[in-house]
């Protein structure tokens, strides 16, 4: 898949993983796993990017004698998800148009 496209998609993926309640790194990886493979290093750069864009906030909490970082979505993060859904409607309709002839030929 186009790298630029996939990058944008994975950003939204991570936002969706923390949409309902805050989550931590490994949990995010596990939640996304059934849908798409994401490596730790990819997740790290995405979290960093989203934090810089203020789409999520980070909080450090002690857990079992060590520190763990929890990520919480912000208003603009929520907005990003909504934008994605809107964009996707348009993409889906384009997809339908692109594959129209394939379906008619079948």
């Amino acid at each position: 898949m186009d790298i630029q496209l996939k990058r944008g998609l994975l950003d939204v993926c991570v936002l969706a993983a923390i949409k309902d309640k805050e989550s931590y790194g490994y949990q995010i990886i596990k939640d996304i796993k059934p849908y798409t493979e994401m490596s730790e290093s990819t997740l790290y750069t995405i979290l960093k990017r989203l934090e810089n864009a203020q789409m999520l906030t980070v909080r450090t909490e002690e857990y079992g004698g060590r520190l763990r970082k929890y990520y919480r979505i912000t208003q603009s993060g929520m907005k990003r998800i909504e934008e994605f859904k809107e964009d996707w409607k348009e993409i889906l309709s384009i997809y339908k148009f692109v594959t129209k002839e394939d379906n008619e030929n079948e």
Binding site: Y26, S39, S41, T45, L47, R66
Partner: protein, 198 residues
């Protein structure tokens, strides 16, 4: 490889800045969370991937200018004799550095001047059409029909050539842009590979 080895090897190769500690604690947390699920430390580290792959991913997110600055910047302060040596050898390394820089710039200039000359030819043909068209009219007013017809034919040919040239120029412009971008990316990759291999 155990967690300690993994983290210390990563630390060695990461650019020394404010994010280093944050990055290390992220991977440390990742390994601990896996261990908690019952994985052995070795298995957990193996699932994270190699130090090299982690490093490439992190470095590719850093802009080239920052990467160059950090690569050039020494990791420790220089000793007195090293500074003396650097100054004494400066006629050599400064000129080498300038030469490398100039080579990169001249590659860009050569590519872009090729493109500019292509467009110049295109503009030349387009202007030629206007020039010939003016003469067609002039010859008609003078009643020199044969010359007028000849110039009209020539101008039609020029129109054809300039339309063809326009598409060639457009393709070439796009290609040049892509090529310029590829060269910039290539230079960045060299820096990343160097860092990863160190």
């Amino acid at each position: 490889m155990n967690k300690q080895e993994f983290l210390s090897r990563l630390k060695e190769k990461l650019p020394a800045n404010e994010d280093t500690q944050e990055c290390l604690s992220f991977y440390s947390e990742m390994i601990d969370d896996r261990k908690e699920e019952g994985m052995s430390e070795e298995e957990a580290v193996a699932e994270i991937g190699t130090v090299e792959s982690v490093l490439s991913q992190i470095l590719s997110e850093i802009p080239l200018s920052k990467l160059v600055k950090e690569t050039v910047k020494p990791k420790r302060s220089l000793k007195a004799w090293e500074i003396v040596l650097l100054i004494l050898t400066s006629p050599v390394w400064i000129s080498l550095l300038i030469a490398a820089f100039v080579i990169v710039i001249s590659v860009y200039i050569v590519i872009w001047s090729l493109l500019i000359s292509l467009w110049a030819i295109e503009v030349g043909f387009a202007l030629g059409v206007v020039y010939l068209a003016v003469y067609v009219v002039v010859f008609i007013t003078q009643g020199r029909m044969l010359q007028s017809a000849a110039y009209f034919g020539a101008s039609i040919a020029f129109v054809g050539i300039s339309i063809l040239m326009f598409f060639v120029c457009k393709k070439a412009s796009k290609g040049t842009l892509v090529l310029s971008k590829k060269i910039a990316e290539g230079i960045k990759l060299i820096f990343i590979r160097k860092r990863v291999a160190q």
